[in-house]
Structure formats: structure tokens, C-alpha cells
Amino acid sequence: MSGVERAQSPWALRLRRFRRHRTGMASLVILALLVLFCLGAFPLALMGVDADATDLFARFDPPGPGHLLGMDEAGRDVLIRLMVGGQISLLVGVLATLLGGVFGIAIGITAGYFGGRLDAMLMRFTDGMIALPLLPLLIVLGALDLTKLGFGQEFARSGAAGFWRIVVIIAIVDWTAIARLVRAATLQIRERDYVRAARAAGAGAWYVMVAHILPNIATPIIVAFTLTVGRVILAESVLSFLGFGIVPPTPSWGNMLNNAQELVTTAPLLAVYPGVLIFVTVIAVNFLGDGLQAAFDPRSEK
């Protein structure tokens, strides 16, 4: 043991492996740039550009001074809408992933740890959710009338309600993959000797889950969360595109393609920008997940 001065914590080792993965690092850079781009909406707004102001005389104006990418079909500035839309789409991506992910972890770890009837019941429930066709279900959930659920009229129509609605419904639909993953991992770890040692010392279910199971499934969870963000961003864009997600005037990369068929003939570039941004974001997120997976590869850890 002589010659080793500092402890090589598992996380330090993983960071080193990640740095070696070129596409993973590149994706991190790309995502950082994208976030910076979206944050550019703030200085732009300070300069007087309004994301929601319409000017029907300026419909489909080509790029010009003050409006670097031109105007959209309602006379709004395209560039700032791309930025604000990006903020919204990314926020939805992260929040829905976190919400659905936490729920999925809770279900998976409970089913895996306790086993027996509880496990069977939870898995039936999960399998039932998996059987549902995703997009139709999202559409129905997106079309729900909030007033029928008891919310006030004004709240139901507000932008905040629309935003949170889409976060919640995507979370409702997307937690199953994480639940299954967590359950499988929990089943494995539950049988490890160090868990048995803790139980022999009197550890209860909560302690074992928090102190042993969660830290040991952290790596596959992180990878799963990253990949989920990609899926969620795609789901939000489809929903908003179809009109059931983020509703104008609030921009989102998806709903900027709302009148796509019209755009294709009159202003094709406007149909390209939001899609390219979605595509680049999602592919970067997926490559990031791939890089993380390589860095966390359990075969290089023991």
C-alpha cells in the first residue's frame, strides 16, 4: 500500500474515465453552449425585443436589423422566441425527468426491497402503464379540462398551469423505465453481503435503502435520467406541436412548428430552426448519457 498517498474515491475515478470519452465531453460542451444560447433571451429582452409582441404587418419578414432571424407567422421575433422556447423546453425536460424519476425510484426500490405481494402489485401497475400507447395517452391528458378537476377557471387558462400540466403528464407517463431499472438493481444489491451485515447489526428498511441501495444504484440512475431527459424533450415537442402541450403565445420549440405545413411553403427556414435545435439538444443528451455509461461501466469498477 505504500506509494498511494490520497484516497481514490470511486467518483474521482469515474470523472477521469468520463474525461477520456470524447463524444461525451463534446456533448457536455454543446449542451453548455445551448444553455448559454437560451439564456441569451435575457440580454435580448433588455435590448427591447419582446417575445410575445405581434406585428401582423411584419409577418414572415426576412432577417434584418434588430431581428437577426426574421419574423414568424404572427410577426414575432424568431430569435428571441427560439431562446425563450429553449428555456421552456429544457426546463420541462429537466423537471419532468426529476418528477417522474423520483416517483420511479420510489416505486422501484419499494418493489425490489420488500418483494412478495407488494412487489407483484407494483409491477402489475407498472406493466399496465407500459402497455398504454404513449402519445394518445399524453394527448388525452393534455386535453383534460382542469376545471372539471376542481381548479378555478382563471388558473386553468394561465400559462403556469399549462407549463406544470405538461411537466406532470410527461412525468406520469415516463417513470416506468426508471422504476424497472431501480427494481432490478435493488433486487441484486439486497442480496449482497454488506447489506446482510447491516441488517445483522439491526438496520431497518429505510437505512438500507438510503445508505446502501441508493448510493450503489446512483450510476445507472444517472445514466437513465440523462437518457430520459432526451425522451422527455421529444415528447414535449410533439405534444406542443400537436397543440396539447405548451400553448402560444408562450413559445416552445415544439409549438413554433405549429403551423408547419404553412411554414414549409412560405418560410421553410422557420420550419428548420426549431427542429434543428431539438435534434441537436437530444442527440447531445444521448451522447452524454453514452459517455456517462462508459465512465460508470461496472466492469471497470470492483
Binding site: M1, A7, P10, R196, A197, A198, R199, A200, P215
Partner: protein, 315 residues
């Protein structure tokens, strides 16, 4: 002196689909304070299951456990937890790879909420030195250590709540032969210093010879022979024990072929009727498949065997 640990007619059954695995059947035994009892048997004999039952990881289906005279029930187990600890076979699976050594060793204390964070750290430092590892090991992670070193860490962990009984489930089987004796010596040292008892589970009789005061032999979940080490090794009474001892190569001793055991151990899903060993026993007669033999004296004090035709020696 009351026994430290007493098992009274303990059985452990597992339902598997529509059948029942009878892992442990009607085992009664005792361990005195400061004593080492070896639990010996082949794989499938139920020794690990019994060890888990003693350590509180497996509830017995029937029978009772007594520790320090108190029956272990749901309400009394929590108090006993810190006094009964366990060391496992595979040092590579026994330590949480995400925790540094100091946390691993202090974990039983943390779970039992004994002491403060500072006192726990001090205890970990004390134990690390006790098991022969350098102090800087405290900040390292399991993957930086060899098998033998990891087993020492596991022993340190078991020692942290100052237990009175340690269940050692084949602690040497996964180690290199040269390391085995080191770890064994450590266990002996620790036992003397702390007045510990061990329930030492092993399939390796040669190892058992060094550390152990008494030996209990399990076959297919049943206790077939139990007695002081010297007596059992010199005059094994049960045919199974005799065959086990015959198979241990010893330099300078000529092989006494008493009798060869036929066949393989039956499945615990469907144990044979009467004496569980009768299907392979060279001495088997009609009564063996009909009646379960009970433990009866076989010569020396404390030496008992469960066999209708056991070899008895005059005391």
C-alpha cells in the same frame, strides 16, 4: 454458567413455489462464553442457514433461540443485535464499495446509534490498528485492498459494537492458503482479548482443528454429531463424520478405509425418511429408514451422535 447462545429445536423451512426446502431440522445446541463451536458440513447441509438464523438474518420456522438466557423474539432482538455479529465468506462482496473503510467499520455503531460521530471514528481507528492494518487505510476504499485485508476490515467491523458472539460463515474459504493462517491467528488473538465466542462455519476440517473447542456436524439440516474437538477427531462416532475425517489427508497417518459413502447428498426439498443419512450409509438397516435417531452419548463427556449404530467408545 449459562450458555451464551442456546438453540432449542430450531428448524428453518423455506417455501419454494409449491414445495418446502427443509434447510435446518430440529437442531438444538449451545455455545458457552468464550468458546468456539465449529459447524461443519458439506454444501447443502444447512450450516449457513443456521448461521444466519443465529445472526438474526433468518427467522426460524420452528424452535427458539436464547441469548444470555433471554429468548430472542421480535421485541428482544434489537437489544441483542450489537452483541451478535457476523463475518461473511466472500471478502469481495462483504464491503460496500461506495463507503470508505472508516465508515464501514463504524457502521454497526452508527446503525445502533452508539456514541457520537467522533467516538465512532476513534473506535474505527482503534480497530483498524487492532486487525493489523495501517491507519491510512481509514480513508481508503475497499477496491484498494486485497482479499485478506478486506477480511480483516470485515472482522474490524464485526468487532466494533463489542459483541459477545461472532458468527463466522466460512471466513477463510475465499482466501489464499498463505493468508488463511494469518487471518485465523488474528481471529484467535481477538477472541482471547475480547472473550468472544465464535460460531465457526466451515466445510474444511483441517482449518477447524486449530481454532475450535467443540465441533457440530450437520448433514441435510440435521445435527448428526457434536462433541469436544479432540474426542470427535480421535473417535468419530457417526458414519458420516467418520467418512468426512477419512477424506482429510494427513501426513504420517495411514488411511483407514472405514467405509466408502455412496452417492450424492439428497435434495433438502425431499429429505429421506427416518435417518437422513440412511440412503448413503454403509451401516444402514431397516430401522434407519423408519426411525429418526436422536442425539445420544457416544463416549466422552459432551460427545453425542445421532445414529442407530454409532460407534461408541468407553469414556
Amino acid at each position: 454458567m449459562t450458555a451464551l447462545l442456546a438453540l432449542d429445536d430450531v428448524s428453518v423451512h423455506f417455501p419454494v413455489r409449491r414445495q418446502v426446502v427443509r434447510a435446518v431440522q430440529h437442531v438444538s445446541l449451545q455455545i458457552a462464553p468464550g468458546e468456539t463451536l465449529a459447524l461443519v458440513g458439506e454444501s447443502g447441509s444447512g450450516k449457513s442457514t443456521l448461521g444466519y438464523a443465529v445472526a438474526g438474518l433468518q427467522a426460524p420456522t420452528e424452535g427458539r433461540l436464547f441469548f444470555e438466557g433471554v429468548e430472542l423474539t421480535k421485541s428482544t432482538w434489537p437489544a441483542a443485535r450489537s452483541k451478535i455479529q457476523i463475518v461473511f465468506q466472500d471478502p469481495f462482496a462483504a464491503l460496500d464499495p461506495r463507503m470508505p473503510v472508516s465508515e464501514i467499520i463504524a457502521e454497526p455503531l452508527r446503525i445502533q446509534r452508539i456514541g457520537s460521530e467522533a467516538s465512532r471514528r476513534a473506535r474505527a481507528a482503534e480497530l483498524v490498528a487492532r486487525v493489523g492494518l495501517p491507519l491510512d487505510a481509514l480513508n481508503r476504499y475497499p477496491h484498494e485492498f486485497s482479499g485478506g485485508q478486506r477480511q480483516r476490515i470485515a472482522i474490524a467491523r464485526a468487532l466494533s459494537p463489542a459483541p459477545r458472539l461472532i458468527v463466522a460463515d466460512e471466513p477463510l474459504s475465499a482466501l489464499d492458503v498463505s493468508i488463511q493462517s494469518q487471518v485465523l491467528n488474528l481471529m484467535k488473538e481477538v477472541q482471547e482479548q475480547e472473550r468472544l465466542s465464535y460460531l465457526f462455519i466451515s466445510h474444511d476440517l483441517a482449518v477447524v482443528n486449530h481454532l475450535v473447542d467443540r465441533v457440530a456436524v450437520l448433514y441435510l439440516g440435521r445435527l448428526v454429531e457434536i462433541g469436544p474437538r479432540a474426542a470427535l477427531f480421535a473417535n468419530p462416532s457417526h458414519p458420516y463424520t467418520q467418512a468426512l475425517l477419512d477424506s482429510v489427508p494427513r501426513i504420517g497417518r495411514h488411511r483407514q478405509r472405514r467405509a466408502v459413502i455412496r452417492g450424492e447428498m439428497p435434495s433438502p426439498l425431499n429429505p429421506p425418511s427416518g435417518c437422513v443419512f440412511h440412503t448413503r450409509c454403509p451401516k444402514a438397516q431397516a430401522v434407519c429408514s423408519a426411525e429418526v435417531p436422536s442425539l445420544a452419548p457416544a463416549g466422552a463427556a459432551g460427545h453425542e451422535a445421532a445414529c442407530h449404530f454409532k460407534t461408541e467408545t468407553g469414556a
